[in-house]
Amino acid sequence: MPKTCALCKKSRAILKRPKTGQQICKECFFYVFETEVHNTITESKLFQPGDRVAIGASGGKDSTVLAYVMKTLNERYNYGLNLFLLSIDEGITGYRDDSLETVKRNQEQYDMPLKILSYDELYGWTMDAIVAEVGRKNNCTFCGVFRRQALDRGAAMLNVDHIVTGHNADDIAETVLMNIMRGDIARLGRCTLICTQGEDTIRRSKPFKYTYEKEIVMYAYFKKLDYFSTECIYSPDAYRGHARTFLKGLEAARPSAIIDIIHSGEAFEVSEEVKATQKLQQTCKRCGYMSSNELCKACTLLEGLERGMASSGITERARKRLEAEGPAPDSLRTIPFFKPPSGNPTVTIEVPS
């Protein structure tokens, strides 16, 4: 027997909401999905009118839905934002090149300027070349460190105030679990923040912090949004994979588990004594990016690659071996010095025709 929508009491229900257990119809689903994101944005005061905001776009489901919803809300509620798409090309043949085609279509569909910044351009290395050098064991470390910095640098080139990413409630709950299992107190303290900002870096926010992955996928399905869904060809992050499988099992037994874990993470307080032992943020002496050491992680990894000792950024033993060989040569390839945004964009961006 068809079930009636719990909200409008008229139309036929098509979805059971994991967060509330409510059965709702398609129109009410679109409305509550968008309104909850709007409420998250306004309650956290994420934006100011006139802000330039880059959407970190991979072509995958989360960032595709985020771009669509940001555009919708910006128009519906007059946020007054200038929206951009920012994509990082890691240089993974057969994976990222295909997903970037999706982003290029999104640029047309959503009428937003797009900037693509490649690892090759910024670091002189594609992920294909890095994997050829380091193998498939630690390559996710390189990719993760390089992507984070590339997003900030791409954002600086666009002269934006803010980057939004498609991290959803499931992702954040996974990260909370991973940080607990690893005992990473510093990250546990900040991984549930909706908005983070370093000294001189651009603000980063997660408007989908409370949005379930199931609803994002359902939204994309019912709106027929165009997204790309292939696993990265270089083995997925195994540790996150375990957390994810565990979390999906929990969700199947009790759907509210995801939001409950996020709330636990938010309620977790790091004591002042522990905070005092944590490293202060400084600027990387080589590239000017924020860092907790003299050299930032990206510079450390790049130096290892350039000097043919890629594992020096991964293990203590390999780092000592690198240091024993003396200081980095002056001819070493380095990352261009980081300039936080000020004034006009330093790049020309593609504007949809």
Partner: protein, 110 residues
């Protein structure tokens, strides 16, 4: 009885990367027996039966990415005629002629 009464025409769609496990083909048209026997007791074909049928007949690789225990792996969404299967009794839903069943993986990166 005519053939059409013994068999159901079912359309199956895969999305979110699941199609890669099924010959990289998103849409499949199947004929499913309307009645099946389980533990030597006859009963109408349901979604649970369809899931096993897909695994045994159409799945080309890595079956652990499609099924876990006796159902789809957690994280795979199922829609029955564009309705969340959680509203339709999940695996117990009795298949009807011309049903469209969609399986979408949520497990691939964003």
């Amino acid at each position: 009885m005519s053939n059409s009464e013994n068999f159901l025409a079912i359309r199956v769609e895969f999305g979110g990367g699941l199609e890669l496990l099924f010959s990289n083909q998103r849409s499949h048209k199947l004929k499913i027996p309307a009645n099946i026997s389980k533990n030597s007791v006859g009963k109408p074909a349901d979604i649970d039966y369809l899931i096993h049928h897909l695994r045994d007949n159409l799945l080309k690789e890595r079956k652990e990415l499609f099924m876990e225990k006796d159902t789809v792996r957690p994280g795979i969404l199922v829609l029955i005629n564009d309705t969340d299967w959680e509203l339709e009794g999940e695996g117990d839903y009795i298949l009807q002629n011309n049903d469209e069943i969609v399986f979408i993986s949520t497990l691939h990166g964003g």
